[in-house]
Every structure is written in C-alpha cells, then in structure tokens.
Amino acid sequence: MLDVRLHKKLEDFALDAAFAADAGLTAIFGPSGAGKTMIAKMVAGLMTPDNGHIRLNDRVLFDSEKRINIGVQRRRIGFVFQEHRLFPHYSVRGNLTYGAGRKGGASGKIPFDRVVDILGIGHLLDRKPLALSGGERQRVAIGRALLSTPELLVMDEPLSSLDDGRKAEILPLIETLKDEFGLATLYISHAIEEITRLADTLVLLEKGAVKAVGPASELLNRLDLLPYTGGDDAGTLLETSVVQYDRAHSLLTVATEQGNHLYLTGSEKPAGARLRLRIRARDVAIATTPPTSLSILNHFEGRIEDHCAGEQGMEELLLDVGFPLTARITRRSFETMGLKKGSPVWALVKSVTLSRH
C-alpha cells in the first residue's frame, strides 16, 4: 500500500499530486512533462518534495510536517531507470546480486534462478555490461532491481530507451514477472500500449496534477478521459478466463467476468487460465441490425450508454454490451445511422484484432 501526497514547485513547473495505490501494478500515465518521473523520484527518495507525505505499507518514508525523510538506501524501493545504469566493473551476475543483501525486503522470496530464467539472461551471467546489447542490459537492470527484494518496485519508463522490437520483447517479460511475483509496482509510462498491458490501477497525470485515479479497466472506458487515454490505441481492457481451445482452428474461447464469450486466435491455453484482452476502440464496428453472413465472430448486443465527439470527424461511443466497451466510428456513420444515447446496437469485433500479441 502506497499513499502519497506530493507538492513541489520548480521554476516553471509545479507538481501537486496525491494518490493511493494498492498491491499490484499502479501505472502513472501522462504526456511528457506531466511530472511522472518527478513522482517516481520522490517516492524513491531521489528528489525531495517541498511538502507532503509518502507512506509505504506501515512505514512513513517522508513527512514534511514531522520532518521525516528516510534516505534512498533505507526506503526498500527498487528502481528501474530509463537507462540501464548497470555497474560496468561488475559482471551480469555481480550486478544482479549487488542488492541481494538488503535487509527486510519483500516478504515473498524472489529466487535468483527463476528471475534469470524468466528474463532469459542465463547465458550472460559472466559477461560484463559493455558486452551486452541494449535490450539485454535493460533486462539485467530489471532483474537487479527485482532481486534486491524491495517492498515496492518503481519502473520509470523502463522501455523508453529501447527500439520497438526490444520493447515488444521485454514487455511480456515484465508481465510475467508481475504475475509470478506480484510485487507492488509503480510503473511510469507515456505509452498507452504498456499501460493497457500492465496496469491494475491507473493514475492519470497532466501538468503536474492528478486527473483521475482508479482501476485501469474503468478509467480506460471513460469518455471524459479520452483526451488523455485516447489516441490510436485507446480501448477497453477486459479480464477474461479461457473457456476452451479449438486446436483445429487455433481458436480460443474466453469469457468475460460478466459471462460474455469472445473468440480469438492464438496459442493453446488451459481452460480457466486468466487472459487480459484489449479491444481497441477503432477495431469495434457498429450495426443497428443483427449481423448475418459476416466473417466477424464476436458480436454483442447492447446499447449506447454515452457518446461524445472525438478528434477529426470521429465519434467516441461507450457501449453496454454486458460489459462496458468503447467504440470509435466516423461521425458521418453515427449520423446516417441515426444513433443516439440509448440506441440498441450490435458491436462487432474482428477476432484477429484481439489476437494477444
């Protein structure tokens, strides 16, 4: 449990943010210059707020009124920086174990071999950081922070220094680590792709102020927040569980918490396995009659809960189809179909757009 209230005034910028984060991964999301990294640094003790407080579980790390300011080294907060910051004179193994002696770390054990295994760095252990590629270095940096058994892991745009290929490679690893060790994490990012993939709780930050805090799946569906969460990849986050797998067609059937079934292509998963899906608003089509003779497998009956004008001739819709679902269509279609709040509609989602990375 992390509870912060931070205030700091710089020459041309003021941060005034308060939020609480439970276990799981809390993402701080916002455009560049919103003050995300400042929050990360303050929580870790790398920057001092003018006033406010930082509490982690049962410890007060900072309190301006009580004049408490625990040093970085005693906060038990692991930090993954934008750049790897590996120690050049230590081997990969030496880097990974550098913080392993930390006192009073995470309650759950984080085994060295398992971390190395997940990150796929077993063959690099005896090398020096200079001999690694960019992606390998950042993997080691993530492992190093994790193996210091912190109470809280802060990841400050850990993928931002990498190219798209490396990002796509490392993002699933972070997801696996998160699922496996369940370490409370504060994840800083301006990439909605990373947020939708990882975030349990979302803190929306703009110009140094918190716009909204809440479960990621809720916030990402809020039309009023679309200016912040929008963009090409905006969409709905669904927590689903696997119902069955059709091996002949490589087709997974999953169920939402509300009981709707969705179909998507992908590799085999055992029944009951949890799967997080993202349906991009632009991948959802709208029909006013029940669709027949269409190739689209996923269609859901429901109605328009709310709508608002989007950018450049687009209309953003929030549908209730058993679960909340956002859709983005042209304003022209919206008008010619005569849609309005409460209109009964069918939402169509191509299965291939659901394919899970």
């Binding site: 790398l46 970085v72 080294q73 906060r75 550098y98 002696g101 930390r102 090398r127 200079l130």
Partner: protein, 230 residues
Amino acid sequence: MSLSPQEVDVILLSLKVAVFCIALSFLPALLVAWLLARREFYGKTLLNVIAHLPIVLPPVVVGYFLLVMLGNRGVIGGWLLEQFGVSLIFNWKGVVAATSVMAFPFIMRAIRQAFEAVDRNLETAALTLGRSRPMVFLTITLPLILPGILAGLTLGFARALGEFGATITFVANIPGETRTLPVAIYSLLQVPGSEAAVLRLVVISVLLAFAAIALSEWLARRSVRRLGSA
C-alpha cells in the same frame, strides 16, 4: 655499468622517499579531491587555491614555508618534536614531507578528474539497491576512479623522484639522509670533472621515470580490461 655504493644509496633513498611520499599523500589527496569534486561548502575556493599552491609557487618558497612551519621551532614541527620526538630537519623524513607537499596537487588533480568523470547515476542506482553510502563508495566509486588514482600516484611518484627546490631549501643536502637523485646531480655539477658521474645519475633518472610510466600504463590497461567483455 656497475653502481658505486654512493649511487646505490642515492637511488634507494630516492625510491624510499617517493614511496613514502605517495603513501603519505594518497589519503589527503583522495579526501581533498572528493571535497572539491563532490561537495559545496564555504571556503571551497580557498581550499582549491591552497591545494594548488605547491604547483604555482616557486619550490624554494614552499621550502621556506616548510622550514617555518615544520622546523623544530615551527608551529607543527615544534609540536611533532614535543609530542613524538620526531624532527624533520636534515633527515629523510623531512625529504618525505617536502616531496609530499610538492606532489600532493598532482595526485589530487588526477583523482579529482576521475571523480568528476564518474557517472553519478551509478551511485544513485547502487543506493536504490539498498547499499549504504560508504559501501557505495567502496564498491562503485572507488573501483571506477582507480585508473585516475593510479595515474595520480604515478605522477606523484615521478614528482617525488624529481623534487629539488623545496627539498634542498627545507632539509639541505646531506649524503645518505637528504641527498636524493636531483640533489646528488646538482652536487656533482658543482665539482669539476664529474661529468661522467652526472651522466650516470641522469640516465638512472630517465630509466626510473620510464619504469614508473610503464607500470602505471600497465595497471591502467588492466583496470580498463576489467570493464571490457568477458
């Protein structure tokens, strides 16, 4: 060429003085380098100036100050004599004192540059991994500035071998006690017909300088290789 006993004395004395000199200067140089590179404090500029004085002052003037301060009736010298019965006048310890003062800025500057070249982000990262500041200094900072320390100590060693002005002013020219290589060369130059002996000492000086530089290069390369690929 075989060396005369006097020449051996001179060489051994010079080496002994140089070794003691860098051993004595190292920790103060490390401390001052750290203060100047890493700390902001009142009087920093003054400390910077004082630390550089031995480079810019005429060595004879430094020798004079040493005489005043460290002489048996000097503020520090008197105290040393009273408390520990140690006198620096006219013996090799005095030479060590003089060369240490003269070599100090060279050692300090090299270490300071090394401090300034260290990526402080690495130290921050080490702190987030739960290590205390002293441990971070020992495990991160110190290994990273090691090449700079080696370069500084080599410079200091060479400086100590070559120190003349402050030494002869402070502790004079006494065979077997304060007659180091440059002092010995100077003495021989005063004696007509000793050109051959002078040349021998000059050659020895050059060889020692080369050896010191070769040693430091080798050490520096070794420490660079530690950062390289497996």
